[in-house]
C-alpha cells in the first residue's frame, strides 16, 4: 500500500478516438430498432429501384443511371436524417448516456464519434445506392439493349455531399432537442413545411425574396449539383448552412456539455 | 388467495417458469426466493396478466386477474418502480392511479405520508427521484387502492435501513389484518423475519416450499446435523472440556465449531468454569439453506 493516496494514471492511455468510433458504430446496429432502421434504408432503396426498373422496362421508357441515383437520393434524403437523429437521441431516451459519459467524460469526443458514425453510415448508404443503381442500369441494358450511363464524378460527389448534409441536418436538430419524436417532427417541418412557406413568402414579399436564398438551406444546396454555380451561390450555401447546421449543433453541444445526465 | 397451478412460461426453447404450483394464504406473508433469473418476476407478471402463460393458470381470490373489476382495489402490484413516465411528478403518478381506481385525491396524500415522501419531494419529477424514493412511490402506488392482496417484486430494493424496518412492520400488519402478501427478495435476512411461508425456485422450478421451521429442519436433517459456534476467553480450556465429553470440536475463526447443540456447550462451559463471550446455534439460517437448495442453479460456485 503506498503512502501517497493518488491514483497512478501514468500507465493508462486516454481512450483513443477510433475506439469511441468503433463503439458508436456498433451501437448503431446492435439493437433491434437500430438494425431495422439501417436495414429498412437499404430495403426501401432497393424496392424503389426495382419498381422503377420494372415500370420503365414494361413501359419502354428511357432511364439513365443518374435517374436511378436520383430516386435513391430522394428517399435517402429523408431516411438518413432520421438516422442522424436516432444516432444521438437514443442515447438519451434509453439513458445509456449515463454509461457513455462515465466511460468517456470528454463529451465532445463522444458526440464527434457519433457524428462520424453518421457520416460513415451515410457513405455506406451512398455506396449501396450507387451499387443498386448500377445493377439496375445493367439489368435495364440487358432487357432493353441499351443504357445511358450519364452520371459523372461531379454528380457522384454532389450526391454524397447532399446526403451527408441531410444527415447532419438531422443530427443538429437532434443535438438541439435531445428528444427523438420532437427532432423527427422538427425535421419534417423543416423538410416539407418550410419550403412552401419560404416559397409563398418570397412570392408575396420583395424583401423576403432577396433574403430567402441566404436562409433556405434546402434550395441553396442545389448549387452543389451544378459546378457552374457562382461564388454567390456558394456563399449562400455556407450562410444557410451556418443557420441550419452550425448554430443548432453549437447550441446543442453546449447543452449536452452542461446537461445533468440522468 | 393466490393459486398458481401448473404454471409454465417458455420463450422459444427456453423455459423461464417450469410447471410451478403454489398458493398463498390470507393472513400470511409469502416470501418468493431464488437466484437471479430464476423466474420470480416472470411468475409475478403472469399473475397480473402482463405476460401470458404458456400453460397453467393463476387465480387470485378465485378469479383470473383479468376478470377482477377495478383490480387496483383488490390487488396491489409493484413490479418495477421505475416503469413510470420519467417526466411525471411523483404526486401526479399517484393521482393518475387514484383516478383510474376512482379514489379521492386525499388518498394520494395519505399514501405519500405513509411512505414518508414529503410534499416537496412529491412535486419533483420521477427522473429526479433517488432509487429509494422511486421504490417508496411504487409501494405507495401498490397500496393506493387498499387491496387485500399484495404482489411485490423486491419491495425493499433501494430502501434505507429505517425504510426496510418500516416496510417489515407494514407488511406484517397487512397480513395480520387478513391480507395476503407475496414478495420476492434477495434480502434473506429480511424475508426470514417477515415471511410465514417461503417458496424457493431455481431455474424456473420450485426446489422447496414451506414455513421457515420446516425448511430449516429439513435442511438440518439433510446436512451435517446440529452444531453450534462458541467463543470463550479460554478457547483451549473449552475445547478440552468438550472433547472430554466426547464432542467433536474444531477451530473456526476466533472461536470453535462444536458438533453439539448450544445448550450442551453452555453446560460444559459452566462445569469447566470457562467464560463464554459468544454462543450461538449453528443452524446455518436461510442463507445456507438457500445456497444449498439452489446450488445447481447458482451462478457462482459455492465452496
Amino acid at each position: 500500500m503506498s503512502a501517497i493516496h493518488t491514483l497512478d494514471v501514468s500507465g493508462t492511455a486516454k481512450t483513443p478516438f477510433h475506439r469511441l468510433v468503433r463503439v458508436e458504430l456498433r451501437k448503431s446496429y446492435d439493437t433491434r430498432a437500430g438494425f431495422w432502421l439501417l436495414l429498412s434504408i437499404a430495403l426501401i432503396v432497393l424496392a424503389a429501384e426495382i419498381i422503377v426498373l420494372a415500370v420503365t422496362t414494361v413501359q419502354d421508357e428511357a432511364i439513365a443511371f443518374g435517374d436511378f441515383i436520383g430516386v435513391a437520393a430522394f428517399l435517402t434524403s429523408f431516411l438518413l436524417p432520421v438516422l442522424g437523429i436516432m444516432v444521438l437521441t437514443t442515447e438519451w431516451s434509453q439513458r445509456s448516456a449515463m454509461v457513455t459519459f462515465s466511460l468517456e467524460p470528454r463529451r465532445p469526443l463522444v458526440i464527434a464519434a457519433k457524428a462520424l458514425v453518421g457520416v460513415l453510415l451515410t457513405l455506406a448508404t451512398v455506396a449501396i445506392a450507387i451499387g443498386i443503381g448500377a445493377v439496375c442500369t445493367l439489368l435495364y441494358r440487358l432487357i432493353e439493349g441499351h443504357a445511358d450511363w450519364t452520371f459523372g464524378w461531379p454528380d457522384m460527389f454532389a450526391f454524397l455531399l447532399t446526403q451527408v448534409l441531410a444527415m447532419l441536418g438531422g443530427f443538429a436538430l437532434a443535438a438541439l432537442l435531445l428528444n427523438t419524436p420532437a427532432a423527427i417532427v422538427a425535421f419534417f417541418v423543416y423538410k416539407w413545411v418550410l419550403p412552401p412557406l419560404f416559397f409563398a413568402g418570397a412570392a408575396l414579399m420583395g424583401w423576403f425574396d432577396s433574403l430567402r436564398p441566404w436562409i433556405d438551406f434546402q434550395s441553396s444546396q442545389e448549387a452543389i449539383w451544378d459546378w457552374s454555380s457562382s461564388g454567390e451561390d456558394w456563399a449562400q450555401l455556407v450562410v444557410s448552412g451556418i443557420v441550419w447546421l452550425v448554430i443548432p449543433l453549437a447550441i446543442g453541444i453546449r447543452r449536452v456539455l452542461r446537461a445533468e445526465v440522468k | 388467495m393466490i393459486e398458481v397451478q401448473g404454471l409454465t412460461r417458455t420463450y422459444g426453447t427456453f423455459t423461464a417458469v417450469d410447471n410451478i404450483s403454489f398458493s398463498c394464504v390470507p393472513g400470511t406473508v409469502t416470501g418468493f426466493l431464488g437466484p437471479n433469473g430464476a423466474g420470480k418476476t416472470t411468475t409475478m407478471r403472469v399473475m397480473v396478466g402482463l405476460t401470458p402463460a404458456s400453460s397453467g393458470k393463476v387465480t387470485i381470490g378465485g378469479h383470473l386477474y383479468k376478470d377482477i373489476p377495478n383490480p387496483g382495489r383488490h390487488v396491489g402490484v409493484l413490479l418495477d418502480a421505475s416503469a413510470q413516465h420519467a417526466g411525471r411528478t411523483g404526486r401526479e403518478i399517484l393521482e393518475l392511479g387514484a383516478t383510474t381506481m376512482g379514489l379521492p385525491s386525499s388518498r394520494v396524500d395519505e399514501m405519500l405520508e405513509l411512505v414518508s415522501l414529503t410534499p416537496t419531494e412529491a412535486k419533483r419529477r420521477l427522473r429526479n427521484y433517488s432509487l429509494g424514493m422511486k421504490q417508496r412511490l411504487g409501494i405507495a402506488h401498490a397500496l393506493l387502492g387498499d387491496p387485500s392482496v399484495l404482489i411485490l417484486d423486491e419491495p425493499a430494493n433501494g430502501l434505507d435501513p429505517a425504510g426496510i424496518r418500516w416496510m417489515r412492520g407494514l407488511l406484517k400488519g397487512y397480513a395480520e389484518r387478513g391480507g395476503t402478501v407475496l414478495l420476492s427478495s434477495h434480502l434473506l435476512h429480511e424475508v426470514e423475519q417477515i415471511a410465514d411461508e417461503m417458496i424457493l425456485i431455481g431455474n424456473g422450478k420450485i426446489v422447496a416450499q414451506g414455513d421457515k421451521k420446516t425448511l430449516l429442519a429439513g435442511a438440518a436433517a439433510k446436512g451435517g446435523g446440529v452444531h453450534s459456534y462458541a467463543t470463550a476467553l479460554d478457547n483451549a480450556a473449552l475445547a478440552a472440556a468438550l472433547t472430554a465429553k466426547g464432542i467433536t470440536v474444531a477451530g473456526a475463526g476466533d472461536g470453535l465449531r462444536i458438533e453439539a447443540e448450544s445448550v450442551e456447550v453452555g453446560r460444559a462451559a459452566l462445569e469447566a468454569g470457562v467464560v463464554l463471550t459468544d454462543l450461538r446455534g449453528g443452524e446455518g439460517g436461510l442463507e445456507d439453506l438457500f445456497l444449498e437448495l439452489t446450488a445447481e442453479t447458482q451462478r457462482e460456485a459455492i465452496s
Partner: protein
C-alpha cells in the same frame, strides 16, 4: 394475529364496479398534459396554428391579397393537419416508450378499453383543435376585413365545417393507427410522414406511367381520397373511395395493432 382476522381465500367481487369508461377517459386525458413533453406538444400545436394564421393575415393585409375565412382554414395543413397525427401517435406510443403500459394494464386488464379511451381522447383533442382553429380563423378574417380594403369573405357552411372536422379526426386517427401497428414513436412518426408526403408522389408517378394502376389508384390512396373533403363537395363514388381507402389505411392497421397490443407481453 387475531383469531378472527382470517379472511376467506376468495375475493368477493360483488361490491366492486368495473372501472367505468369515463374514469379511464379522465385518466388518459390527464396523461396528455401532465408531462412537460405532452404539455409542450399541446402548446406548440396552439402556437403553430396561431402563428401560421397571423403570418397569413399580416402578409395578406400588407400585400393587399384577397383571403377568405376558408383560406385561413386551409392553411392549417401546416399546423394542426401536421401535428394532430403526431399527437395521435404519441398518445399511444409514449405508453410503451415510458413503460407505463405496465401500470395502465395492471389497473385495467381490459386493454381494449384503455386503447379505446386513448382514441376517444385523441378525437376530443381533434375536435377541440378544430374549434380553436375556427375561432382563430374568424378572428383573423375579422381583422382582415377591418384593416384591408378588400371586403372579408366569410363563405363557409356547416357542410364544409363538418368536412374540416372529419379531415382532422381522420388525420389524428391515421397517426393513431400507425402507432398501434408499430408501438414505437420514431418509427410511427417516420412512417406517418412517409405516408403523407412521399407516398402521394410515388402513387402519382405510378398512376402516370402504368395504366391499370391509374384505375386502382383512387381506391388505395387515402390522401388523395381526402381531397374532395378539402374541396367541400364529395360525390357518391368519392365517398366510396374514402371508405375503401380508409379501411386500408386506418381500419386494418388499427385492427392489427390492437390485436397485437391485446396479446403482447408488456415489459
Amino acid at each position: 394475529m387475531s383469531a378472527t382476522a382470517v379472511a376467506p381465500a376468495t375475493i368477493d367481487l360483488s361490491g366492486t364496479q368495473p372501472t367505468p369508461f369515463s374514469r379511464l377517459l379522465r385518466t388518459e386525458f390527464r396523461k396528455t398534459y401532465d408531462t412537460r413533453s405532452g404539455l409542450w406538444l399541446l402548446i406548440s400545436i396552439g402556437i403553430v396554428t396561431a402563428l401560421v394564421m397571423v403570418i397569413q393575415v399580416s402578409v395578406a393585409i400588407a400585400q393587399d391579397i384577397a383571403v377568405s375565412y376558408n383560406d385561413f382554414l386551409t392553411s392549417t395543413t401546416f399546423s394542426i393537419g401536421f401535428l394532430l397525427p403526431v399527437l395521435g401517435i404519441l398518445l399511444l406510443t409514449s405508453e410503451w416508450s415510458q413503460r407505463t403500459a405496465m401500470v395502465s394494464f395492471s389497473l385495467e386488464p381490459r386493454r381494449g378499453h384503455v386503447i379505446a379511451a386513448k382514441m376517444v381522447v385523441g378525437i376530443l383533442f381533434a375536435i377541440a383543435a378544430v374549434l380553436v382553429t375556427l375561432a382563430l380563423a374568424a378572428v383573423c378574417t375579422g381583422i382582415y376585413g377591418a384593416l384591408s380594403d378588400i371586403p372579408a369573405d366569410w363563405d363557409f357552411g356547416i357542410k364544409q365545417t363538418s368536412f374540416f372536422l372529419l379531415l382532422q379526426v381522420i388525420g389524428m386517427l391515421t397517426g393513431f393507427a400507425f402507432a398501434a401497428l408499430l408501438l414505437n414513436s420514431p418509427a410511427a412518426i417516420v412512417v406517418y410522414f412517409a405516408y403523407s408526403f412521399i407516398l402521394p408522389t410515388i402513387f402519382g408517378i405510378g398512376a402516370e406511367l402504368i395504366g391499370w394502376f391509374a384505375d386502382i389508384h383512387p381506391w388505395i390512396d387515402f390522401n388523395n381520397a381526402q381531397v374532395p373533403l378539402i374541396d367541400g363537395s364529395v360525390s357518391g363514388e368519392e365517398w366510396a373511395q374514402l371508405v375503401v381507402t380508409g379501411i386500408i389505411w386506418l381500419v386494418i392497421p388499427l385492427a392489427v395493432g390492437i390485436w397485437r397490443v391485446l396479446r403482447a407481453e408488456v415489459k
